[in-house]
Amino acid sequence: MNVRIRRRRADGPKGHQTTWLGLLLVLSLAGAGCRNEGSTTAGCPSSEPSGTPVDTTIMAFLSAARALHHEADLREKSGDAPGAIAALERLIAMPAPAAAEVDEVLADTHARLAELRLARGDLDGADRDVQGGLQRVAGPTYFRGHLLEVQGLVEEARATAFVDAGKREEATAAKARAISLLEEAVRVQEQVIDRALADGGRE
């Protein structure tokens, strides 16, 4: 399907990573801050010797995610979109530990995959990725808002494709869906901002 996409790339490759790479950094620093002093552990969030201050499974997953997003960056920069998609699909296929951070990483990965597929005109694939990402995040979060935004772009592209195909009614319906999704994305991100700045300016 030949699709004209009236959109600007939402984020650079780095934009996708800044969200949760910060988390990985924090977790890494937390781990680095721990040091063994004889039989005790000092400098950790939990100083109990038997404590596990950082879940190593989550750390391993986030580290792998970082590496695969980096690989996708490199492939995307060199014009190898299929290679970038393949790298991100490997991440999606990995066994994922149950953790909110992991869900956010996967939601973000789904959003990036959807954008890559959208840019290649794979609207159905992009839609599947958006749905997969939305299953990972509930409530007003940036990740959910971003997925809704991308889904709105998918419907916008679909409307354009229908117009090109002379399917007026389908185009109108797709455009209406796009507007609703983009409106919802605006509302979700508005709530995200309200929550993030709940204490801002009041002190």
Binding site: R6, R7, R8, A10, D11, T18, T19, G22, Y142, G145, H146, L148, E149, G152, L153, E156, A159, K175, A178, I179, L182, E183, A185, V186, R187, Q189, E190, V192, I193, D194, A196, L197, D199, G200, G201, E203
Partner: protein, 159 residues
């Protein structure tokens, strides 16, 4: 008070408290050896801890001026009070640092959400084809303007 303000106040308190602590530390300890050699005349009995053989901080005593009274008489804080104030200042500094870090994180999240909001609004408004669509575009733009102002007032500019 903002996080920056609280941090500044905590730092200021620490800066003011530590010199006081250092002054307190200059006083001889209870178990310090006598400053005068054996056989030398003993210092006056009324000389308190603040009038030891060691020079005191500040200007030297001038002849003809009254000697400074003992520290207890000046109402200067004792060691326990200083320790408490120092601990409180440290705790306040830690709280302020935490608040500052949280504020930076919150602003990063707000800026990221604002970018997504801007993109969504831009696309929404390019799809306007009738008055109802225009109304929805206008509503989104009003929300965006309010959010932008909120982020600007709380965080300044987004990177």
């Amino acid at each position: 008070m903002t996080s920056h303000g609280r941090l500044g106040a905590a730092v200021l308190t620490l800066l003011l408290t530590f010199p006081l602590t250092m002054c307190g530390a200059a006083a001889p300890a209870e178990k310090a050896p006598p400053a005068t050699p054996a056989g030398a005349p003993a210092p006056p009995a009324e000389a308190g801890p603040a009038q030891s053989a060691y020079p005191q901080g500040g200007y030297p005593a001038q002849p003809g001026y009254a000697a400074p009274p003992p520290s207890a008489a000046t109402g200067a804080p004792d060691q326990g009070d200083l320790a408490q104030r120092r601990a409180a200042a440290r705790a306040e500094l830690q709280r302020a640092q935490s608040d500052l870090e949280a504020a930076a994180t919150d602003c990063a999240a707000a800026c990221r959400a604002l970018s997504s909001m801007e993109r969504a609004t831009q696309h929404l408004c390019t799809l306007v084809a009738d008055p109802d669509d225009q109304k929805r575009c206008d509503d989104a733009q009003h929300r965006l303007a309010a959010a932008r102002e909120r982020v600007r007032s709380s965080c300044g500019t987004c990177q």
